[in-house]
């Protein structure tokens, strides 16, 4: 089910956004081979919360000590563990 098509655009993990920056979700890389993400459907959960490809995400802040991110998506405020946020890929919006 892996679909990592190279689009030529700069895809960066959500965690590389600075506080206050907004990106557009390009993909969620769940990884293959039944890794930790398979068991509890984290990809689906993120989608259900509105993090579908093409959605704008704003990183509001990240907690210290490699903590979770606070993001705004579709008008709601979410806390996301960093390990998971690293698997969400975005491209930065051009003003």
């Amino acid at each position: 089910m892996e679909t990592r098509r190279e689009t030529g655009r700069a895809e960066i993990p959500l965690t590389t956004l600075r506080e206050g920056e907004t990106g557009v979700v390009t993909s969620i890389k769940a990884g293959r081979g039944g890794g930790w993400v398979r068991g509890w459907g984290f990809e689906k959960r993120l989608m259900d919360l509105g993090l579908t490809p093409g959605t704008k995400v704003t990183v509001v802040k990240s907690a210290p000590f490699h903590g979770p991110l606070e993001i705004l998506v579709r008008g709601s405020r979410l806390a996301l563990g960093r390990g998971m946020a690293e698997r969400i890929f975005v491209e930065i919006e051009k003003e």
Binding site: F42, R45, G81
Partner: protein, 646 residues
């Protein structure tokens, strides 16, 4: 027409005010239990309206109707199989788009429904104006604006629900239309499943098969595996076309529809300055200031609970012990009298003097914090720390609860997403020193050795939690999950809902803990009456005396401590005939004894809670593990202490 019984279900996202509406509708006629065989809560209530007897079911708060969590599966099955007459979809007006995503799934399930557009006040403060009539037209579903916390719109909601049941839906609903390729796929699969007798509508089954829904795929393949493989083939085609999995495509497109409706129905008038709630949020999740605020809030919380608890507990126990002469005159002071008083009545007193003074205020404050939104901020701040033991931020909530009482803490582990996480969190919470253990730490070590020693024991406790948590995290099969949590806007909690939640938790506690506490006291009293306790103390002496270096009598107190941990200290005073423990115990013995009471076994009520949540085997395993662990720890501690001069 004849008046009859109706069933109305409340469904919606978490934190949208569903339980407040539920409370308004059902008042005192509520029953909270579990879904059969599941650890998911089921809240049910009845009310009478226009001659109908209406059952209200409050479904769990969920974001979707997929099957990735038990709550979602239960809700979906309930709606499809049990078919409530109408579903009231509670929608948070301040997060319209995401809430409508759920609404659209209900529409796809072809459920008769109306919408309670709740938290209109919060939306307004955030600068969101919603045209209710337009939303109603766009969806083809009645929309009732409500501010549940003030009771606004509740009556109209009920009226509309009954009207829909009596007259049927009056308008044609919106159809959730997907992209061309997806629609083609849906059409093909729908044709194949149309003939099947299934509790979900054919189009819904088709969509879910394309999304790769496991529950539905399993059910359908039992009837015709051909359909599932066709759906898989179609899904692969769509995936190749779009570059994303078919499930992603469908979810995106469904969100697109929700977004369109939301954009059309709402007008955003951005507030000029940030709201109070916004500023409070920034402050309480601040990188630096957030932590002292949290520490201060928690300390204040525990301080007030313990102050209130100590005072009330003493008051209650004085009151109850005032009845002793009466019982003595009724049952005499012989064996019967001893068993009735010492076995049964003291068991009840034990339960009451813990439950009421400590657990009630604890729950009130906890629910207050939860409803207001602060608990999710704490989880956000503590995520990193909890990751060290393989859990995520949400697990801090049961751990925090554990400092009050381990029983609600174990039950509170339900907020974790997977069974593995629940068990891990529960194991950790049993190691947290509860109020009873705090009494011993402060009353023995703190009192006779100085507060610095007591604090050191707390630090040791944290280290042990960390070490054992990590060990369990490595040993337990399965993969860790990560924090995904909504932080809803701060709001004023609804007092009645908070109190009601407290009441149900208290009832749950009593149901779990009381029978065992009473049976346990009776058993120990019997042993005492038949002079078996000394025998037990002697039998335990190789461990207590030889290995742990404690007086043999502590064997008895440790047995009593299984009922309630603070009994270890109370019994010690009784058996030794003094409360000046420095005369009868050396400092080393005090430390070892306190360490033992902290870890040697979960109390009987906690074991009961573990059994209820995880079954006998796991509860027994945790219990035995902790016994072995504490004994080893105590012996090692003793040897270390005797090595160091002090």
């Amino acid at each position: 027409m004849t008046k009859r019984k109706l069933v109305i279900a409340l469904a919606g996202n978490a934190n949208v005010g569903k339980s407040v509406i539920f409370n308004y509708l059902t008042g005192l006629h509520q029953h909270i239990g579990n879904w059969p065989g599941k650890t998911v809560e089921r809240a049910e209530g009845t009310l009478h309206f226009k001659g109908y007897t209406i059952d209200i079911i409050d479904l769990p708060g969920i974001y979707s109707l997929s099957t990735y969590s038990l709550e979602e599966l239960i809700s979906r099955k309930y709606i499809a199989v049990e078919r409530p007459e109408v579903v009231i979809n509670v929608v948070d007006a301040s997060v319209l788009e995401r809430n409508l995503f759920f609404t659209l799934q209900l529409i796809e399930l072809e459920t008769p429904m109306i919408i309670a557009l709740n938290q209109m006040d919060i939306a307004k403060r955030k600068g969101i104006e919603i045209d209710t009539e337009k939303l109603e037209k766009l969806l083809g579903i009645p929309v009732i604006p409500t501010v549940a916390i003030k009771g606004i719109g509740i009556f109209q909601l009920l009226e509309k629900a009954v009207e829909i049941i009596e007259k049927g839906p009056m308008t044609k609903r919106v159809e959730v239309k997907y992209g061309e390729e997806v629609e083609e796929g849906i059409a093909k699969v729908t044709k194949m499943v149309e003939g099947l007798q299934f509790w979900y509508p054919p189009r819904y089954v088709a969509i879910k098969l394309l999304e790769g829904d496991e529950e539905i795929a399993t059910e359908v393949s039992r009837i015709d595996p051909q359909i599932v493989s066709t759906a898989e083939k179609l899904a692969n085609e769509i995936e190749n076309l779009h570059g994303h999995s078919c499930s992603t495509v469908i979810t995106s497109e469904r969100y697109e529809v929700a977004g369109c409706i939301a954009r059309e129905a709402q007008k955003l008038v951005s507030p000029i300055k940030p709201t109070m709630e916004e500023r409070l949020h920034t402050l309480t999740t601040h990188k630096i200031i957030g932590y002292p605020i949290m520490a201060f809030s928690l300390l204040l919380m525990f301080y007030s609970i313990f102050t209130f608890g100590d005072y009330t507990s003493e008051l209650l126990s004085n009151f109850f012990y005032g009845w002793e002469p009466l019982f003595a005159s009724l049952f005499g002071t012989g064996i019967v009298g001893k068993l009735v008083w010492g076995g049964i009545v003291e068991g009840v007193i034990a339960g009451v003097t813990i439950a009421l003074p400590y657990i009630v205020p604890f729950y009130v404050i906890l629910y207050f914090l939860e409803d207001s939104g602060y608990l999710s901020r704490i989880a956000f701040l503590m995520d990193t720390a909890m990751h060290k033991i393989g859990l995520h931020g949400k697990a801090f909530i049961p751990v925090m609860l554990g400092y009050g009482c381990n029983v609600p803490a174990c039950l509170g582990c339900r907020i974790m997403e997977t069974e593995r996480e629940r068990l891990l969190a529960a194991f950790v919470t049993t190691l947290v020193p509860c109020a009873a253990r705090t009494v011993i730490i402060l009353g023995l070590v703190g009192q006779f050795m100085g507060i610095q020693w007591a604090l050191m024991l707390y630090v040791i406790d944290l280290l042990i939690i960390f070490a054992l948590g990590r060990l369990a995290f490595r040993t337990l099969p399965g993969e860790p999950t990560a924090l995904i949590m909504e932080m809803h806007d701060y709001r004023l909690p609804h007092l009645k809902t908070v109190l009601k939640q407290t009441w149900f938790r208290l009832a749950e506690f009593i149901k779990i803990a009381f029978p065992l506490i009473i049976v346990g006291s009776l058993a120990i009293k019997l042993a005492e009456v038949f002079v078996l306790l000394e025998l037990v103390a002697t039998m335990l002496s190789p461990v207590t005396v030889v290995w742990l270096g404690l007086p043999a009598i502590t064997g008895i107190t440790l047995i009593f401590g299984v009922l309630r941990k603070e009994l270890t200290l109370i019994m010690l005073a009784t058996l030794l005939g003094t409360t000046n423990f420095s005369k009868v115990l050396t400092p080393d013995q005090m430390v070892v004894f306190t360490l033992m009471t902290m870890f040697y076994i979960p109390c009987i009520a906690t074991i009961a809670a573990l059994v209820r949540e995880f079954g006998w085997k796991k509860a027994l395993f945790i219990t035995i593990f902790e016994i072995v662990f504490a004994i080893s720890l105590g012996g090692v501690a003793l040897r270390l202490l005797t090595l160091t001069p002090h």
